[in-house]
């Protein structure tokens, strides 16, 4: 239980998807213009993560690894299999959002199907693949579906936290006098850099 909790908190603050690994940057920079749409995208990403990481964990341990029932080491197929699971799940979320929140669906636009190629989702599965080989004493170790859920939920909340706070800053920044060549993309990068520095303080956290 303690490991579960520490994995959850670590993946929000210490191993934050955006500030520590730069995963999911494309949609992070493009969608963070208003707080409302960024909350929606954050929830969609968290939801897709919560399904894909445990499913990919089961595929990895029960089908692909050498001690599965097939008895052959098929880990070289993991990229193709993971991306297929992610693409299918994204399709599901897209249909779900279109049915229940048409306004959010049109606000997210092209970025909803693009969750399939969001690095944060694929990255979480690939990190999970690395972490199941770690020493069980390690705070980052993932040893079961429960750990996968904690990791996925934490990463999703961390990503949402990052995109919502950037959107809030950008809404305020619309009134600032920024040098012309830096306007738009440049100043956003510098803001994210400063936020990443602030998040570096959490790396001393012992859990």
């Amino acid at each position: 239980m303690e490991h579960f909790f520490s994995l959850f908190v670590r993946s929000i603050f210490v191993d934050n998807m955006i500030f520590a690994f730069f995963l999911g940057m494309c949609s992070y920079l493009a969608v963070s213009k208003t707080v409302k749409t960024s909350v929606g995208l954050g929830c969609a990403v968290t939801f897709v993560l919560l399904i894909t990481v445990p499913v990919d964990y089961l595929l990895q341990t029960k089908l692909l690894s050498a001690d599965s029932f097939l008895g052959i080491d098929l880990t070289f197929l993991s990229f193709i299999l993971f991306i297929a699971v992610i693409a299918a799940m994204t399709q599901l979320v897209e249909m779900f959002v279109e049915r229940f929140s048409p306004s959010l669906y049109s606000a997210l636009g092209i970025f909803l199907p693009l969750i399939a190629v969001n690095c944060a989702i694929m990255g979480a599965s690939l990190f999970m693949q690395q972490r199941i080989q770690m020493n069980p004493d390690n705070a980052q170790y993932i040893g079961g579906v429960g750990d996968c859920l904690a990791y996925a939920l934490g990463s999703g909340i961390g990503w949402t936290l990052a995109i919502v706070s950037l959107a809030a800053i950008r809404e305020k920044m619309a009134y600032c006098d920024v040098p012309k060549p830096l306007r738009g993309l440049g100043i956003t990068f510098i803001t994210v850099g400063l936020m990443a520095m602030a998040f570096m303080c959490f790396s001393g956290l012992k859990l």
Partner: protein
């Protein structure tokens, strides 16, 4: 139909400056930031992306008339994933230390927006040869930014380039000199700020880009 008509040379050279994938199109930022703390992984990553973009463009362009429109994203992802698997295994076999350093970011080439962007925007409408040139051009445009950022971060962060010490130890503060390595440069946060500076310079030079 010469090999490098005006349109084809535009496809090859445009992405290097006016239409750069990172600085102008804002594609493929994730890996650009994460692998650039040293120059060597930055070069390897740039080359891998160039090769994968070029060949996935060629393959998709060859089969573009047979792919049903509704499932084209899945087809593209499978082609890219197969190419990435091949490149990842080649890296593991020949440059193992770099592939350990790049860790998950090799696998993340699959979800690199440059690939999907070029496949959707170019390879689905154009023939194999110009698609190949477009892929090489965009890959190199990406690699150029990676190399610039990797160069600055490795030089200022640890005083080396490609692992060769350029700043002698006797200059350092603890040996009686006046120089100190900027440890901040090796941290992830500085990558963002250096890319911002690259964009700043690029936009100041090309005033017509919004």
């Amino acid at each position: 139909m010469s090999l490098l008509s005006k349109q084809n040379s535009e496809a090859l050279l445009g992405p290097l400056n006016k239409n750069n994938p990172i600085a102008v199109q804002v594609l493929g930022i994730c890996s650009a930031l994460a692998v650039t703390s040293q120059l060597k992984p930055a070069i390897v990553m740039g080359l891998s992306v160039t090769i994968i973009t070029a060949f996935s463009n060629v393959i998709i362009s060859l089969i573009r008339k047979t792919i049903p429109n509704r499932i084209r994203i899945i087809v593209q992802l499978v082609v890219v994933a197969a190419l990435v698997t091949i490149v990842s295994n080649i890296l593991k076999a020949y440059v193992y230390d770099v592939s350990v350093q790049l860790s998950v970011y090799v696998g993340l080439i699959i979800t690199n927006c440059i690939l999907m962007g070029r496949l959707e925007a170019f390879a689905l409408q154009n023939g194999p040869w110009s698609s190949f040139l477009d892929g090489v051009g965009n890959g190199l445009g990406y690699a150029v930014i990676l190399v610039i950022v990797g160069f600055v971060r490795e030089l200022l962060g640890s005083g080396c380039l490609l692992g060769v010490k350029l700043i002698p130890d006797s200059w350092l503060l603890e040996n009686g000199g006046l120089y100190l390595h900027n440890g901040m440069m090796t941290m992830p946060a500085m990558a963002l700020i250096i890319v911002a500076c690259v964009i700043w310079v690029h936009r100041s030079c090309n005033k017509d880009i919004e």
